[in-house]
Subunit: 412 residues, 2 copies
């Protein structure tokens, strides 16, 4: 198929605008159909509110969270159950609060609390997750971008930066089905992250395993065990592992998890004990009663896959049909997670997103995948196809095609 | 009744020890019977998961919390509904996080964030709530005690301290059925707090209205509207009002509220938006379906009263029987809330609590009602009678009597 001329592109766009579309591919939200899978939870746990050990889940207490829920998720998050905390409804909260704790109280191994450092830097693999960057921006932690590869962050760059500069205190990682590229960290990347020498004695990896069980294909990706590798390398306190059921059960009413070395977890619990008497254990129990065990969780995730894999297939189908041979246009073909990264010719992402918006199609703002909202190539567009029904995903992607074509034709 | 001699007191204590009692009056926890009142919630909301405005409560979003839940609680917390946020399961979290936000980002009206102040001081009315003090101790905020009266904090002392010193940035208040004395702030106290000149432009009142609807008698105490009075006095941003349903519905699975001026709420939401995508709206809806409206809430609280008022009556009955005429022994007769404050002769509280512990009766540690755990008179004991069943409260209080008598007789 040949690229149509500028006039054709303009005409197609005007037709698109005339349709008065109102669609949204911005956020990684589950669809109603996905949420329906877990809606039986909203009648649980009923009268049977005692935990396996007899604890009355209705009352105060239990800062580590319900042991039987932690036991279900421990193997999937690769954290020993006694080092895994089950908490509130948001893993973003757990990451944010962990950095707040580090700012206000010295981490295990730290010389001082981060608020008393002149400068605190986190490495941000790009393209990456805008909410990670938002936490740092809000807390005054400086972000330094490092390039992503198909195997995770470019480790040559990472190793150099962390070895040279003690102000580099951490790195953001989404190790499986990365947001937004879908990359799965190779075992070698994980090993290097876990074992690399760092100038900072209190360097931390925020290991956001958000898509641990969120497979889109029969092949279920596995990643290396960062906690075990870090311990083997003599850096047991380096990783903080997080995850949640937000995209497993109910997005607003899930349970988030935090795992780390025993010393990190003790530190975290000690500080958190000043903040709350404990998480909502009835919601933990609700999850246990609904998911039951590891097999229940796996079966549940297959049902999600049946709903969302066709949406990702449509995205790929339409992009392939239209742009397979277009120079400068590439896209990820994720085997899991919630996003497709569309790479467009340099300097056109902002314009494509603007055109889409004016045609009633909301896309994630240009630059959102980069610290401070600045994509220096202006070429990355994050597509999130899970929320709209399948026909709308198709319609939205046909709209994306029209906007890309117009932007490219007008660029001349 | 005459005080028995030292030998009798010792004999009674040894008998108590021999009973091998294992009772606990330490924390303000609801009993199982109270939690049973709200257990039907654990089957809600079922399939009917849409909010009044059609919002799918299962999905992400809605940082301010469910409007219909906020509407039920707004009048009780004396906050306009549009300025009231419904959030997670803990008001302690909301207070802690508000101070964290103030440390890391300038409050409305502040010259700088508190982390950049040389010294930040909060006033702590004593006796007070140990978890309030714990938040400040953990965050490096200095606590200065001020005496409580039956009408609230001694306002002459408060006014002098806040006017003289710009490092005094806040005060902790439990204005209704105060923890632990049961005092209800007089209208005059509230007016003075709301209108007093403060050296700090960013002075805040943490108005922990934890027992807003937790009455123990027919007479339902009302307090003046601190937000309205502060606004009238030209200090609209001064109060942060908090409350929760922890002692209304389920202690571990309730909903906490934060109310303040529109500007404070915007500030709080803006910072919180970097931390989470939103609270658990299904739990908000669960509360709406269960409590229904203001009348439902009032009726529910009367059922709590029927369960716990007899426990407070037993505490008063036994203390009156034993110590009505004992010099140096006094106790509060709260009309609401969760605590009785027992004042014993100077220098005996620690010994009484030690004796109780060795007889298998856990009491709140001596000094817990004071900053840094230091009660300079060593005379305040906080009793929390709600959790044990009524016969155990009686048994525990008979044990308290034995320990008090022994401590007093040994003091000579």
């Amino acid at each position: 198929m040949t690229t149509p001329g500028a006039a054709d592109a303009r005409a197609a766009y005007e037709k698109l605008q005339a349709e008065g579309m109102k669609l949204d591919l911005t956020r990684g939200k589950p669809s109603s159909e996905q949420l329906d899978l877990a809606t039986p939870m909203l009648s649980l746990p009923g009268d049977d509110f005692r935990a396996a050990d007899g604890t009355d889940t209705r009352n105060y207490g239990g800062l580590h969270g319900l042991p039987e829920l932690r036991a279900i998720f421990a193997p999937f998050l690769q954290v020993p159950v006694e080092q895994l905390v089950a908490f509130g409804n948001s893993s973003l909260e757990l990451m944010h609060d962990t950095l707040v704790h580090a700012l206000l109280s010295p981490l295990p191994g730290a010389e001082r609390r981060w608020a008393d450092e002149e400068r605190v830097v986190f490495l941000a693999p790009v393209p990456g997750y805008d909410r990670h960057f938002g936490v740092c921006e809000r807390l005054g932690i400086e972000l330094v971008p490092v390039p992503m590869t198909d195997d995770g962050p470019d480790m040559d760059v990472v190793e150099q930066l962390v070895a040279a500069d003690a102000t580099v205190k951490g790195i953001w990682c989404v190790p499986k089905y990365s947001n937004p590229t879908g990359a799965v960290y190779s075992d070698e990347t994980v090993r290097r992250l876990a074992s690399m020498p760092t100038a900072a004695p209190d360097f931390r990896i925020i290991w956001d395993n958000a898509y641990a069980v969120h497979h889109l294909t029969e092949h279920e990706a596995e990643i290396a065990d960062v906690l075990a590798l870090a311990a083997e390398a003599g850096h047991p306190d380096r990783p903080f592992v997080v995850g949640s059921t937000s995209k497993i059960t109910l997005a607003g009413a899930g349970v988030a998890f935090l795992g780390a070395s025993a010393e990190n977890v003790d530190w975290w619990i000690r500080l958190t004990s000043k903040r709350t008497i404990g998480p909502d254990k009835t919601n933990h129990l609700r999850h246990v009663r609904f998911l039951r065990d590891a097999d229940g969780l796996r079966a549940h995730m297959r049902r999600h896959r049946e709903i969302i894999a066709p949406k990702f297939a449509v995205v790929d189908e339409i992009l392939t049909r239209e742009f397979a041979d277009t120079p400068g246009i590439e896209w990820s073909k994720p085997a899991g997670g919630y996003f497709v990264t569309l790479t467009v010719p340099e300097g056109t992402a902002t314009e494509i997103i603007r055109l889409a918006k004016e045609a009633g199609l909301a896309l994630t703002p240009a630059g959102a995948t980069h610290p401070y909202g600045e994509d220096p190539q202006d070429s990355i567009i994050r597509l999130a196809p899970t929320f709209p029904p399948l026909p709308e995903v198709r319609k939205a992607m046909e709209g994306v095609v029209v906007c890309v074509r117009l932007a490219l034709s007008e660029r001349g």
